[in-house]
């Protein structure tokens, strides 16, 4: 078993422990701003996992969009609303119990399914990137096979961001 354990797997399990520790912190911390920090930790860990499985471009996008933009945006939102907000201490109301039971049940079912499925060993000799580096291969794929969805998603982004600005701006007197 020990020979089976290579360096990548050791790094992966350490990263998983970090990610899950940050996630548990996110659930257990009570000050909202600390929760946003824990979220940043989770996103950084996931980016490292992407690098580890060879998806470099997705990892960099994760770093830029999630760990950079979204975490900072959430911190801005917390600061603009009541930044002293605290989650109430954990009380086991029926609602909490039901949510915890549902989450644990779903987790158990998922893990049992993953465990009982025989996954084919990922072929190590297949080059996913077809000789290019990963960003080049992803770019070729995006602009050749997924050109229309790519344009649509840019449209979605511009609509979303303009809509966000319109929703969030201060209402003037003459608008009302």
């Amino acid at each position: 078993m020990l020979a089976y354990l290579n360096g990548g797997m050791v790094v992966f399990y350490l990263l998983s422990v970090c990610i899950l520790a940050c996630a548990v912190l996110l659930i257990n911390l009570r000050k909202v701003i600390y929760m946003a920090l824990a979220l940043g930790g989770i996103f950084l860990g996931c980016a490292a996992v992407y690098f580890l499985v060879g998806a470099e471009f997705v990892g960099v996008a994760q770093l830029l969009v999630y760990a950079g933009a979204i975490t900072i945006l959430i911190m801005f939102a917390i600061m603009l609303t009541n930044h002293e907000a605290m989650e109430p201490a954990l009380r086991w109301t029926w609602r909490q119990v039901a949510a915890a039971a549902a989450a644990v049940l779903l987790c158990a079912v998922l893990l049992w399914t993953i465990r009982s499925t025989v996954w084919p060993p990922s072929p190590a000799d297949v080059d996913l990137n077809q000789g290019n580096s990963n960003p080049v291969a992803v770019g070729i794929m995006l602009f050749r096979d997924y050109a229309v969805p790519f344009e649509l998603v840019s449209l979605l982004l511009i609509v979303g961001l303009v809509g966000a600005v319109i929703l969030a701006r201060e209402r003037k007197e003459e608008d009302e």
């Binding site: 399990y13 996931c46 999630y66 609303t81 949510a99 987790c107 979605l156 969030a168």
Partner: protein, 106 residues
């Protein structure tokens, strides 16, 4: 490109556990921002699965990674609109607690 053969089951298990933690957070947290954050956590878990699955199958390719990129884009748009709605609600009601926003309660 360095590629370390990590067992598929372990990666999927990481995604599953992250998803369930996000689900628990989305169901129980009181602050609207934290509910949004938990939804982001669930999207992130799905992204991990997409990237892992892109290596499997009859003809492994980069489709899963491209899907993950699209998901990241949609998640960015979602969080921008969600936080804008949150700011608008906060300006109107002076609260970001989901229980105070429940109109059906009384």
């Amino acid at each position: 490109m360095a590629y370390f053969p990590i067992p598929t089951g372990s990666l999927l298990a990481l995604g599953a556990i992250l998803f369930c933690i996000g689900l628990y957070g989305a169901l129980t947290k009181r602050n609207l921002i934290i509910v949004l954050v938990s939804v982001e956590l669930m999207l992130n878990a799905a992204n991990i699965n997409l990237v892992v699955f892109s290596r499997l199958g009859l003809n492994p390719g980069l489709n899963g990674q491209v899907f993950a990129l699209f998901t990241i884009t949609v998640a960015a748009a979602e969080i921008a609109v969600g936080l804008a709605l949150l700011l608008a609600v906060f300006r109107l009601r002076k609260t970001s607690d989901v229980n105070d926003l429940n109109e059906n309660k009384n």
